[in-house]
Structures are given as structure tokens and as C-alpha cells.
């Protein structure tokens, strides 16, 4: 009896010891800003797969909206309950860096670059002050979208310069249709479309090397003038457009051309979905520029935890995410929108094996090509100044456009006002 009890006790002790040898998994909270339901679902699938294969690391996503997160994230960090991983666009990183919440990821990025070869344009906006501040995760670049059949019927070839563009837009206007749909709201999308004109006019830099504002110059004025001229051919409510109206206009055939990151999924689901007819091209450049450029929005993921174990776990997760076999599925949370930031991502089967991506293969290839010539305002000179966060958040580029479109000011006066506002922000 005693022997049995002893064995039983020993067995119990061993079981308890074995149980305690199971370490608690490291849990990571990830704030990502892709809230549309199908994107959340795809991310969850990937997380389930990762969590299963890595029982010692559990990653949990908390979808946030870009509208709230500029307020919420600093508040959360200040209160000590910020996330461990945080999605970002370059100007948002400067904000989080300012409050000291982001951790440099130099080694990780160097490692990943060797393995997967980042596209330079996607890495550049996160490298300054001697460090890399985020891991690029997905890219978006504006392209110009049109219908080949519509162009053919109007006898138009794809415009490459602004004069050709204006002529094409005018030709396509009339009978209740609008040649081009350009937004004119004080909002991020308009910042982006306006900037895409600026980069195509050689006015890509808004800062001088010493951090003062170089916004007010003839090239910028010309870019705004060209934009305002084309905006006159857009639907009358374009000054209140946020994200989806331009696309909706294009899909309903009311707008002949739009500038967007993509129209593929909505064109496929809500319009006629004819892949052969959907045309995409680089945004036309000013007559005196040699080639086209665009605005590219490299979305990255920042590590925002100071805990060493969590940082290690975060690095494991991010490496896993960029592996070609997983990465393509991540990008295809919204097929035809998110572009790869790595060379091998651009070749990965997991990227091309999505039915929509395959259906619109030539369009996606053009989008990737266009993205390589992409820039982002405030991140063009290799020197990044913290005021870009507030300048972006307050949509000064779009605000300047509104002075022209809504207040009727001249382009020169509007740009001057924009310069003054930016200078005021940079001075604080």
C-alpha cells in the first residue's frame, strides 16, 4: 500500500513538474488598420496558422481604423497599454517615434533584405536618423485607370503628358459623363492624388535640407493649376469625396478616368468585371518631365514593445509573414490592391495563385512596375523631419487644393497659404 502511494505521489509530482515546464506562450497584440471584414478574416486565417505552428508565440489582432488610431495610439501608449505590433504609414511612424514608443528594427530588416530583397522605394521612407523604424509590409501606388473600349470609341490613345491628358479628359466629358474623377476633399486621398501631380512635375520635395518648407515654388503651383483644371471636369460633389466615390464613379461609367491604388476588386464585383477591358497606366507627367512617377504608400509594421521576449517573438512573426509561401496570401487580403514590397514576393506563387490576381495579371504587373517609381511627400530626401506627421494628419496638401477649388483662390495664392501653414506647423 505504501509503495503504491509513493508511486502515485511521485507520478503526481512528475506530472506537475512536466506541466510547469510548459512555459506560458508569449502573447503579442497587433493593431492593424485594415478593417474591412474580408481583410480581417484573411489576417485571422494567417494568424491561426502561425499560432498553431508556433505554440510558444500567440499573436492576436485588433483591427483599428485609420480615422481613430492617430488619437488612440498615442493615448494608449501614454496610459501604458499600447499594442506590441502596430501597422503604420511613414508619417504615422514619425508620430509614434516622437513619443518614444517605437523600437528600431535595423537587424531584422537587414536580415530580411538579404533573404527577400526589399524594393528600395518601400524601404526608404522608414530609414532615417541612422535606423530603420518599421518593416515594410505592403505597398500601394496610384495608377490611372480607364476602359480600353471607351478610349477606343473616342479615338484616344493612353495619355502620357498633361496636355494629352487634358485633351483626353475633355473628349470623354459630356452627356452627363465626366472625363475624369478627381477628389477635392480635405482628406488623405486628396493629399495623395495631389501629390501624384507634384511628383510628375518635379516638385516632389516639400522640405529643404534644413527642415524648412520648400513647398512654394513654380513647379508646385503648376501642378496645382493642372489639377484644378482637370478637377473642373469631375463630378460636382468631388470636393466631398472620401475613399470610395471615385471608384464608384468609375464603376458606374460616370467617370472616364480615375486615379486610384486599385479598382480591381470593386470593378470585378460591382461593375462588369471584364478583365480585357480594364486599362491601367502610369499617371501622366508634365510635358517637360522625362518620365512618369507616382506616390507610393509603403505600409509597414512597427515593433512597439519594450519587453525583450516580446520583441524576439515579434521578429519571429514578422519573418514568418514575409516568407513567400505566406506573404502572397497576406497581400491578397484585398486582391489587386496591396503590392509586394519584396522581389521574391512579387514572384511568389502564393501571390499569383489568387483567382482575382490571376484574372487581372497584366494590370497587377503594371501596378507593380508603376510602384517602383514611387515617392512619398516628406520622405524624398533621406532626411525626415518630425513635422511631417502633423502636416500629413492635417491634410495641408489637400487643404491648399480646397483654397483653389472651394474658395476660388489662384493657384499661386493657395500654394503660398499652404507654405505658410506648413511653416507654422514645422515651427512648433
Amino acid at each position: 500500500m505504501t509503495a503504491f502511494r509513493f508511486v502515485a505521489a511521485a507520478g503526481l509530482a512528475l506530472t506537475l513538474l512536466a506541466g510547469s515546464a510548459h512555459a506560458e506562450p508569449v502573447t503579442l497584440t497587433w493593431w492593424q488598420m485594415e478593417q474591412p471584414p474580408q481583410r480581417v478574416k484573411r489576417i485571422q486565417e494567417l494568424l491561426d496558422q502561425f499560432n498553431k505552428s508556433h505554440p510558444d508565440i500567440q499573436v492576436k489582432q485588433e483591427p483599428q481604423s485609420w480615422g481613430d488610431v492617430y488619437a488612440k495610439a498615442p493615448a494608449a501608449f501614454a496610459a501604458g497599454n499600447g499594442p506590441d505590433l502596430l501597422n503604420s504609414i511613414p508619417d504615422f511612424t514619425t508620430v509614434i517615434k516622437k513619443i518614444g514608443a517605437v523600437v528600431p528594427v535595423d537587424d531584422l530588416v537587414k536580415d530580411l533584405d538579404t533573404k527577400h530583397h526589399f524594393i528600395k522605394a518601400t524601404l526608404a521612407p522608414y530609414q532615417y536618423d541612422g535606423h530603420t523604424w518599421a518593416v515594410p509590409a505592403y505597398n500601394m501606388a496610384l495608377s490611372m485607370w480607364y476602359r480600353k473600349s471607351v478610349f477606343k470609341a473616342a479615338g484616344l490613345s493612353v495619355p502620357k503628358t498633361w496636355s494629352e491628358w487634358k485633351a483626353a479628359a475633355q473628349k470623354l466629358s459630356g452627356n452627363g459623363k465626366y472625363g475624369i474623377g478627381l477628389p477635392a476633399n480635405k482628406q488623405l486621398y486628396t493629399d495623395q492624388t495631389v501629390y501624384s501631380f507634384m511628383v510628375n512635375d518635379g516638385a516632389a520635395n516639400i522640405y529643404k535640407d534644413d527642415g524648412s518648407i520648400a513647398f512654394d515654388n513654380p513647379k508646385t503651383v503648376a501642378a496645382y493649376q493642372a489639377y484644378a483644371d482637370l478637377q473642373k471636369l469631375s463630378p460636382p460633389d468631388s470636393p466631398s469625396w472620401t475613399w470610395g466615390e471615385a471608384e464608384a464613379c468609375f464603376n458606374s461609367k460616370s467617370c472616364g478616368m480615375v486615379l486610384q491604388f486599385t479598382v480591381i476588386s470593386s470593378y470585378n464585383a460591382q461593375a462588369e468585371g471584364d478583365a480585357a477591358d480594364l486599362g491601367v497606366a502610369a499617371i501622366p507627367h508634365a510635358d517637360d518631365q522625362p518620365e512618369s512617377a507616382t506616390i507610393s504608400y509603403s505600409n509597414g509594421i512597427m515593433i512597439t514593445t519594450k519587453d525583450a521576449a516580446k520583441q524576439k517573438a515579434a521578429k519571429v512573426f514578422l519573418s514568418w509573414l514575409l516568407e513567400p509561401e505566406h506573404y502572397g496570401r497576406f497581400l491578397n487580403m484585398e486582391p489587386g490592391l496591396f503590392l509586394p514590397v519584396t522581389e521574391d514576393g512579387a514572384k511568389a506563387d502564393s501571390f499569383w495563385n489568387d483567382p482575382v490576381t490571376t484574372k487581372y495579371k497584366s494590370q497587377v504587373e503594371t501596378m507593380i512596375d508603376n510602384s517602383k517609381n514611387g515617392k512619398l511627400f516628406g520622405f524624398t530626401t533621406g532626411k525626415v523631419f518630425p513635422s511631417i506627421g502633423a502636416i500629413s494628419a492635417q491634410d495641408v496638401l489637400a487643404e491648399t487644393l480646397q483654397h483653389i477649388v472651394v474658395d476660388g483662390q489662384s493657384a499661386a495664392d493657395a500654394v503660398k497659404a499652404g507654405q505658410a501653414h506648413m511653416t507654422e506647423i514645422a515651427g512648433k
Binding site: 481604423s65 481613430d68 493615448a75 452627363g176 475613399w243 466615390e245 464608384a248 458606374s252
Partner: protein, 275 residues
Amino acid sequence: MKRTLAQSLALYAGIFLLVLIIGLPFWWVVTGSIKLPQEIIQRLPTMAPHSFTLQHFRKLLQSSDFPVYLLNSIMVALFSMIVTIVLALPAAYAFFRMAFPGRNLLYRLILVAYAFPGIVVLIPLYGLFARVGLVDSRASLVIVNVALALPFSIWMMRSFLGSVPREIEEAAVIDGAPATTILLRIMMPLIAPGIASVAIFAFISSWTEYLFASVLIVSDARRTIPVGFAGMIGQYQIDWGLLLAGATAATLPVVILFALVGRWFVSGLTEGAVK
């Protein structure tokens, strides 16, 4: 009451306009939510739907956390309602039926609470909640909602309490009943419609609150409908069908609620004195 022809015409024109102004937008939204996407984005929209689909609702239920948002909204609204009544009723009774020094001053002070824009308390309140570990909790929303609804609720209650004849109270006092008994046993049943009105006011105010919910709640599991819904508007794209389905779904619970208890709210208002 006999009406002239002109008066009848005016009346029915008024009713017609009301139905139009209030009902038509909702009609469009609900019918839009069951149209095919191609029909929704047509340049010339249709008054009555030509197509029928449930795909938007399916997408809403399957790929978003809408049911979770709904549950959170209901929970927060219910508790906000209960706490508001518990705090407002005795306070209103004291203000109106009892005398004490500083009564008028305190009453005015409470109303003055509305003189402050909500944003002003947002940041300090966030800091306070963070310190006591209440961030990302539904309790924090209840606290905020109650604070926002309390002044108006007290004012509303005060008016209902005023409509009860003094004699009933005095009779109870002569019988030797203490104030608490008077409040609970005698007044409450008489002002039940008033309580119902305040309850519904608190519930609806909580239901629609956006600003604080968007900052205080961090995780998706505790999100309420207004914030969850705003998030569905999404970055870079608009899916009108999904949004219209969401709008319909967000309206439905309160419509059902109102179908059940709406008449108490209205009768409470129209029978209570508003001074």
C-alpha cells in the same frame, strides 16, 4: 372637434410631409440593402428595387463582428439605463419634493454640466480610466454614458414628479411614512411612465454614442455598433451594399425596442408635465 376643409387639408399635408421626410430615406436604405451592387451604383437610381439579393447581409454577418458589436451595444445601453435611473430618481425627488439649503444652486450646477463639449473631458478621463485599469472596458462606456445622460434625465424626472398631486404625499406623511417609503411605494408607480421615458432616453443616448466609444474601446471584442460600423466604412474603398445592410441592421434593434416600449415613452412625455 370639427375642422374646416382648409384645416383638414393642412393637417393631411403635414402628415404626408412628415411621412415623406422621415420615412423615405429609410425606405431607400432598406431597399438599397437588398439590391445587387450594380443596381446600387447606377447613375440613375431606382425607387423600388429591381433586383434582390441577400449577399450584403451575408457578408455583414459572416465576415464582420457585427453580432458582437450588437451584443456590446445592448449590454452597455442596458446598464447605462439602469444606473441613470438609480441615480436620477432620488436626486430629482430631492430637488423637487424636498427642501434643503443650496437646492437651487445645485440644480443649476447639474444642468450646467451640458456647457462643456465632450471632447474636453475625453483626454483626462482616458488618463483616469487608464490609471484604474478601466480602459477597453464596457464599464467605462457605461460610466461616460450615465454622466452624459444624467443632467437631462434629472430634469425630465423633475417634471414628472411635479405632476403628482401634493395631497398623496401629504397623506402618507400624516400616516407617518418615511421619505424612502414615500418615494418607493407611492411615487414610483405614479411616475412609472416618467421613469420609462428617462429609461428610453438613457438607452438611446448610450446606443448612439460615438466619440468616447471610439477612443475608450480598443479591442474588437468590446466594440459597440457605432464604432464598429464606422470602421466598416473602411480605408481605400466603399462597399455601399455592405454599408446599407449595416445601416439597416443597426437600425433594426432600436426599431424593435421601440415597437415594444415606444408608446410608454410617448405617453410618459405627453402625460407628464414639462415645466
